[in-house]
């Protein structure tokens, strides 16, 4: 039996367009025949740049509120779509959100900096998956092009409801090393 699901790609140009598109996902044209069960937002940071672009030294005051609005809207929309999926007896429930955000903080190598936008996003997203590029000797030693350290964090890691999806895989892994070889091969290793 084939599972035919529609994938819709959308390219909002501004944060206002992004908000409008997400805010309209409850409308019947978007929930028929089936509501979305996965919403992916790429490059969230590009929607949040203040006038003149974001900077480490002074985040535009509106950026935090804007980040909260988008994140809250995504979460509230997912909660509503989950409800619709469950009401229709869909096996696709719950509706999940994945968002990517490239942080400018720590780009200069200072590990003590914190990104206020990430702090805002952490209020709404249960799990954060961080990708840190390893600039040490490991890449050279392993003859790879890049080494990345990938790890999960957030309240969803310890939340029992998070592990319900993984009942048949107790002790879900939370940390990996990603090796990218010069020929493009990617290899994940559990840490």
């Amino acid at each position: 039996m084939s599972d035919r699901r529609k994938q819709l790609f959308s390219y909002p140009r501004t944060v206002e367009e992004l908000l409008q598109q997400v805010a309209s996902l409850h409308e019947p044209t978007n929930t028929s025949p089936t509501p979305p069960s996965l919403i992916i937002v790429d490059r969230l940071e590009s929607f949040l740049s203040g006038p003149g672009g974001s900077s480490q030294s002074g985040f535009h005051p509106g950026e935090r509120s804007c980040a909260a609005h988008i994140a809250a809207l995504l979460c509230d929309t997912a909660a509503f779509l989950t409800q619709v999926l469950e009401q229709r007896g869909s096996s696709s429930a719950p509706c999940r959100i994945i968002a990517s955000f490239l942080s400018e903080v720590n780009a200069g190598g200072d590990p003590s900096g914190t990104d206020p936008i990430l702090d805002v996003l952490d209020r709404y997203f249960q799990v954060r998956c961080t990708l840190d590029q390893d600039s040490g000797y490991e890449a050279t030693a392993a003859a790879v092009q890049e080494v990345w350290h990938i790890y999960l964090s957030g309240r969803g890691i310890t939340d029992p409801s998070f592990t319900e999806d993984y009942n048949d895989r107790p002790g879900v892994a939370q940390e990996w090393k990603l090796f990218i070889f010069p020929d493009g091969l990617m290899e994940f290793k559990l840490v």
Partner: protein, 138 residues
């Protein structure tokens, strides 16, 4: 709303709901607890509830949102399942300074629900989209 509040606040709202159902008023000890947990916005939120400032908007699709009439008459749209308010106090005290758990508008929503004082109103799905996106300036 899914719990974004500490357990003490959740318990407080449950106690307020139970007591209000029985006696139609909030006893002093719960008012003191409310002030202790939420600070200065507790009284402001109660004031908003007294003025019937909280409305639950429902669209034909089933999507809901709360709309709170602020002290200045401005309308603030808040979400059902998580904390967000477009007011300056939320942006400053909650997000920037992490001083408060919520603003008075979100607190008014919780109290209004506990005290069964929420107004109800229907909107179209398109109107709901505009409100949620912040495009519609109420």
């Amino acid at each position: 709303m899914r719990s974004f509040l500490p357990a003490v606040a959740e318990q407080l709202f449950q106690d307020i709901q139970k007591t209000y159902q029985e006696a139609s008023q909030i006893p002093n000890d719960l008012l003191i607890a409310l002030k202790f947990v939420f600070g200065s916005c507790a009284l402001q939120a109660l004031d908003l509830v007294d003025q019937h400032s909280v409305t639950c908007l429902t669209a034909p699709s089933g999507r809901k949102a709360f709309q709170v009439t602020g002290g200045s008459g401005r309308l603030y749209t808040c979400f059902l399942s998580c904390h967000y308010c477009p007011c300056p106090a939320f942006a400053y005290s909650v997000l920037r300074r992490n001083d408060g758990l919520v603003c008075k508008h979100i607190l008014a929503v919780y109290l209004s629900q506990a005290m069964a004082a929420t107004q109800q109103e229907s909107v179209s799905d398109q109107q709901m989209s505009l409100l949620l996106s912040g495009t519609m300036d109420p």
